[in-house]
Amino acid sequence: MRLLTYGRALCEGLTQTMDADATVFLIGQGVNSPWYVGNTTEGVYDRFGPQRVIDTPVSENGVTGLAIGASMAGMKPVVIHPRMDFMLLAAEQLIGQAANWNYMFDGQVNVPVTIRSIVNRGGEQAAQHSQALQAMYAHIPGLKVVMPATPRDAKGLLIAAIHDPNPVVFIDDRWLYGVEGEVPERYFAEEIGRAKVLRRGTDVSVVATSYLVQESLAAAERLAEAGVSVEVVDLRTVRPLDEETVLESLARTHRLVVADTGWSMCGISAEVAALAACRGMYDLWAPVERVTLPCCPAPMCQPHETAYYPRASQVVAAVYRVLGANAVSYSRLAAGIGTSIPFSYPPVSADGSRLEAAESTR
């Protein structure tokens, strides 16, 4: 199949949808600029003109609100916020208006707006140009939130988001734009709300979002060399969450690492861990591990910035931690409910130290 980068896949998905459906239009800051949106709207202005490709003043709440209004009238706007940080200004229109509209009016007027929200970080841009706030939107009934991690999904989920009759927050991370993968040339949609097992494994499930899916795949590769079999689940959509796929994976591997590009508290990683505690508890043989941003804003200087963003090595370390954990609850043993067979995964010492040491020599 044809290979395409994530950035170009986004652009192709957008272009094909605008070709196919005259009600789709693109609006936002920098949609026709050489910088704001990378190569993800290249050629779109020339093809569709100023009526359907509207570069806007710096007015996030107003522009998001008017796209919502246009969508009530039957259009399918794609709003681009070139940074998720700026989108905070549009929180009321998204959370207060778009999310509630269909419900509040008994299904009479829906809001088929797509909010393309770009996470654009690194480059020493510091705290206010780096936020990944998917959890804020995932919390809200009425919104859908997708976070494609692969070029194929970048295209297929964008097309699905635009056609979805609901407000969809579509989050793409610029660190993914250069990732190359197989992308069908045809006009196709991926289903919103389905996670995908990208790699089968038996020892531990790593459930990840966005660029941490790519990092988790890299981690799985490394761990395979060390004899650890990792299953990688790409969440793809964070609201609605595909609980069944996660639980099925957990039922197979009994150990869970959640890797999300945002913060931990009340984040996506919290929800997935909570899922394990609420619906997967009997399958869980070790404490859940969360790989997220540290509990601080994004730093600026290069050494801090490098340390700040989790990468494959943090996923590897988390996998070793869950593998090193015991599968039996001492509190239950003490209460006489359970046997005293401490369980640890074969190639790992009880505290995971042996393999972690091996890892650190890479």
């Binding site: 107003g62 522009v63 008017l66 009530m72 259009m75 009321e92 509040m104 008994d106 007027v109 009759p165």
Partner: protein
């Protein structure tokens, strides 16, 4: 009483003084009476706690909704706010679905999910009102943009209060509409209060229409209790928008008789003076037009009374309809979160 017109950006002057046809005047009268009498009915129902949701009454402001909406087609869009009963009725929304909505019934215009602050009639271009101050102003800009992209000749009207211009969203919306030259008319109903706060506690000057100049569009302040003046200014602004002239801002100076929310009059709370209210009640827009109709011989007092009794009958029927309607079934509570 046009206070000012932003320099170099005027409406055609002659339109603003033309006599209106009899039928138009009578229709305006009926609309205002319908609004007046339904608001009084709503006030009574709220007083007796039959209506439990918050109701923001439009009493006293009838001329604005009536005068503007009389210029609109069914496929023109209207957006409102928390105080939108009048906007809804003047655009053609039905009494039955409105009262049923007040009571939270399944037959309500929003199926009993919205209440008084969330009125809707998709057939008549009312895609939903929202009580978040200024939040619907960009929505109106959006439907105007949709019309422009589709080459439709629909005009959008955004109704909002003097409080709404304090929200940045108002300015963002007007600026965008101006630069994109969109067919939208911004109608600010300046009733001099935002809940408990008078205008000059919230802004330095009584000059809302002057924002228009900053955004490069025409802006006028008019007597919002004179339905003929509202009608003419609305007609000019709407015609201009429809023919590609772009947006305009109409500041309609008016007054709400009752308190901010609910049926109370809000006297002696340190908010406003009884005299002030009485002064404004003397300038009742319905009385004013009624007197004109009598003076011009367009209608007799009997005919005017008949309008009222016809409207009263329709309202009574709507209230009964609302009362006997059922609540939506409990199982539907979680329906429609997603389309």
């Amino acid at each position: 009483m046009i206070c000012s017109i932003a320099e170099g950006r005027v409406f055609a002057k002659e339109n603003l003084h033309e006599e209106l046809p009899e039928a138009t005047l009578l229709a305006l009268y009926r609309t205002m009476v319908r609004i007046r009498r339904s608001e009084e009915a709503a006030a009574a129902l709220a007083e007796s706690r039959e209506i439990r949701c918050p109701v923001h009454l439009y009493l006293g402001q009838e001329a604005v909704a009536a005068g503007i909406n009389a210029n609109l087609k069914p496929d023109d869009y209207v957006f409102g706010n928390h105080r939108s009963h009048g906007h809804y009725l003047a655009k053609g929304g039905g009494l039955k679905p409105m009262f049923a909505e007040f009571l939270g019934k399944a037959t309500g215009c929003a199926g009993g999910r919205g209440g008084s602050m969330h009125l809707i009639d998709t057939e008549r271009g009312i895609l939903g009102t929202t009580p978040i101050v200024a939040a619907s102003i960009p929505h109106a800009v959006g439907t105007a943009l949709a019309a422009k992209i589709r080459g439709q000749d629909s005009v959008s009207v955004s109704f909002f209060g003097d409080g709404a211009v304090e929200e940045g969203t108002f300015h963002e919306s007007v600026n965008f509409a101006a630069v994109q030259n969109l067919p939208v008319v911004f109608v600010c109903e300046n009733n001099f209060y935002s809940s408990h706060l008078g205008l000059l506690k919230r802004r330095r000057c009584d000059n809302i229409y002057e924002y228009a100049a900053g955004h490069g569009i025409p802006g006028v302040a008019i007597d919002g209790n004179d339905v003929e003046q509202v009608y003419r200014a609305g007609r000019a602004a709407i015609a201009r928008a429809r023919s590609g002239g772009g947006p305009a801002l109409l500041e309609c100076r008016t007054y709400r008789w009752r308190g901010h929310v609910g049926p109370a009059w809000e006297f002696n709370l340190g908010i406003r003076d009884v005299n002030e209210v009485q002064e404004w009640m003397k300038r009742c827009p319905i009385k004013k037009l009624g007197e004109r109709l009598l003076a011009l011989g367009i209608a007799s007092q009997e005919e005017l009374d008949r309008v009222q009794s016809e409207e009263d009958a329709a309202i009574a029927e709507a209230v009964d309809f609302a009362r006997v309607s059922e609540f939506p079934p409990l199982e539907t509570m979680s329906a429609h979160v997603y389309a």
